[in-house]
């Protein structure tokens, strides 16, 4: 049924259609609306056979997910940013123990400096944690991919994280097509756990593994993620068969195969790029977009193939590894190393900075002139940066950077105490 609702509510409704049995949560912006709505659905009796538990912290939230999933329950939670960091040890345990938990990450920046807005720093902080990490471009995909996430998690017995841009998607009100319970039931069978803590048939989960077997257990985790590559594709096809929509999968090309210059990105920025690329193609330019929908497992072969005819790939990322640069850019570089492909890394949208079509157009136009640097920070205020660098050079006690910059920009009248 077509509805005009926020991304958070759409995800909550879709998760409810997946019949979760345990939902622990600790509310944190911007995922709050999701779990708040699920709690309402449980309380009203619309979502039956589900235990909703408001726990004391994010660490408790993921720990409870682990317990519930190990006991054989279909388990879901949501978090973002600092909340994800606080549950970090349990995040690694969930994947290390192969528990098919589904979690939404309403992507946000990580402080300090304190910032509540959208970027992908939180997702990147767990890129090596062993979870499957999927990204969505729109609220329709967000709800569709959650339905696929449960099936994928349970097929592989691995946790799946659905990344949706905080605020930009979670708080945006758009048209979505909400599937029926029958459709979801047809796609998603009841949960049959691969391992289950059961007093009738006791077993242990979480043995200590020494040097003699640790490599093998870790290798198998890697192997299983690689197996996921084909399963993600199969499930996206099956989903399309039942729901009639192209959602999920490993990658999505928008004219990428026959374009000289291609934007590569993840998440909601793809939407803004689509509008720009349509304009540019009407103007006769050979440009396209490659959307990375599965970040873990990383679909290196599919990416390599999709960019086979590309001259210049512009990798756009909403986060970066400080002291190294774009993470996605370096991974794409590895995936396409045999190709004669020029790669530029563009970092933008940090901490909620608006990504305008105008700024993206400038990037692509400088690529057309062959003038785009290998590393660019979108809309960086150079004079502000230079002023702070000079200050640090001139004074040993130049003070805290964030406060200095805010004062320079006139954002706050942060006063210097000395």
């Amino acid at each position: 049924m077509l509805q005009q609702i926020s991304g958070s509510i759409a995800v909550a409704e879709a998760v409810a259609l997946c019949r979760p049995e345990v939902v622990p949560c600790y509310p944190i912006t911007p995922q709050t609306h999701i779990v708040e709505h699920i709690s309402t659905l449980v309380k009203s009796g619309q979502l039956k056979n589900c235990t909703y538990e408001n726990v004391e912290s994010e660490f408790a939230s993921m720990s409870l997910c682990i317990g519930a999933s190990a006991a054989g329950s279909r388990t879901y939670t949501a978090t973002a940013s600092q909340g994800l960091l606080f549950m970090m040890e349990a995040v690694y345990n969930a994947s290390g123990l192969s528990l098919p938990i589904v979690m939404t990450l309403g992507n946000r920046a990580i402080g300090a400096p304190i910032n509540i807005w959208n970027d992908h720093s939180d997702a990147m902080s767990v890129r090596d944690a062993g979870w499957i990490q999927l990204f969505v471009e729109s609220n329709q995909q967000a709800l569709d991919v959650h339905i696929q996430a449960f099936k994928l998690a349970e097929a592989l017995s691995l946790p799946v994280m659905v990344n949706m841009d905080g605020f930009i998607l979670t708080h945006a009100i758009t048209r979505v097509d909400m599937p029926t319970q029958e459709q979801v039931d047809q796609f998603l069978p009841p949960f049959v756990p691969r391992q289950k803590l059961d007093t009738e048939a006791p077993l242990s989960i979480g043995a200590m593994v020494g040097p003699d077997a640790f490599t093998e257990v870790r290798y198998l985790a890697h192997h299983k993620q690689k197996e996921a590559l084909s399963i993600i594709e199969q499930q996206a096809e099956e989903f399309q068969g039942i729901f009639g929509r192209d959602s999920g999968g490993l990658i999505k090309s928008y004219y990428a195969e026959d374009a000289e210059i291609v934007f590569v990105a993840m998440g909601s920025v793809i939407g803004t790029m689509q509008e720009l690329v349509e304009e540019l193609r009407e103007e006769g330019h050979s440009v396209g977009i490659l959307s990375i929908r599965s970040f873990r497992p990383f679909p290196a072969n599919a990416i390599d193939k999709a960019l086979a005819n590309t001259r210049h790939a512009i990798i756009f990322e909403k986060s970066f590894a400080v002291g190294m640069g774009g993470v996605l850019a370096s991974e794409i570089h590895m995936a396409t190393v045999a190709n004669d492909l020029k790669i530029s890394s563009v970092i933008g949208g940090l901490g909620g900075r608006t990504i305008t079509k105008k700024s993206l157009r400038k990037i692509i136009e400088s690529a057309m002139q062959d003038e785009l640097d290998t590393e660019v920070f979108l809309d960086l205020e150079g004079t502000t940066v230079v002023r702070e660098l000079r200050r640090q050079q001139e004074e040993q006690n130049s003070g805290p950077v964030a406060e200095n910059i805010l004062r320079d920009m006139g954002v706050v009248s942060a006063s210097k105490t000395h």
């Binding site: 077509l2 005009q4 509540i116 807005w117 959208n118 729109s138 841009d165 605020f167 930009i168 708080h171 945006a172 009100i173 758009t174 048209r175 909601s268 920025v269 793809i270 939407g271 803004t272 689509q274 509008e275 909620g352 608006t354 990504i355 305008t356 079509k357 105008k358």
Partner: protein, 193 residues
Amino acid sequence: MFQVRIHGRGGQGVVSASELLSVAAFEEGKYSQSFPSFGSERMGAPVQAFARVSDKPITTREPVMEPDMLIIQDPTLFLAVNVFEGANTDGYLLINSAKTPEELGIEDMTNQYPPNHVMTLPATELAMKYIKQPKPNTILLGAFAALTQIVHMPALEKAILDKFPKRIADPNITATKAGYNLIIQKLEQAQEA
């Protein structure tokens, strides 16, 4: 695509207005999106919200940079924020004020618009009358419908009924109609003159 930017202050229902507008457009079978400028959503702080309406799916995620309709819910914002930034002066402008653009000292801006595309109306006073609260948003939505015909009254009424319980929805629907009628009246007067 028709793009709307609403400026106001926290507590004036700016975000709700953009949401109601998008739901009304949806009710009429159009594609629409709405979202707030995120962050400082506290009472009294300058707030913006955005809406887009189109016959085709909308993919862009950038804030509305070149609004076809600019709604100013609080004229004191002229001093705090450049509310006119990027405004499409072939479009429309709605200002919550009992004063004329000349009295507000913004005629340099408003003169760039076509005749009858700029309207001021005392929406806060009307809100106090109809909903007993200084929330001018639904009055201005009615005015929006009258001025642009981008959405229409039945769809707005349905959007309000969907979002609010009846005791809040009913006075707001009356308020929306009052805003609508006031602008229709102003347009008719302008035509006669």
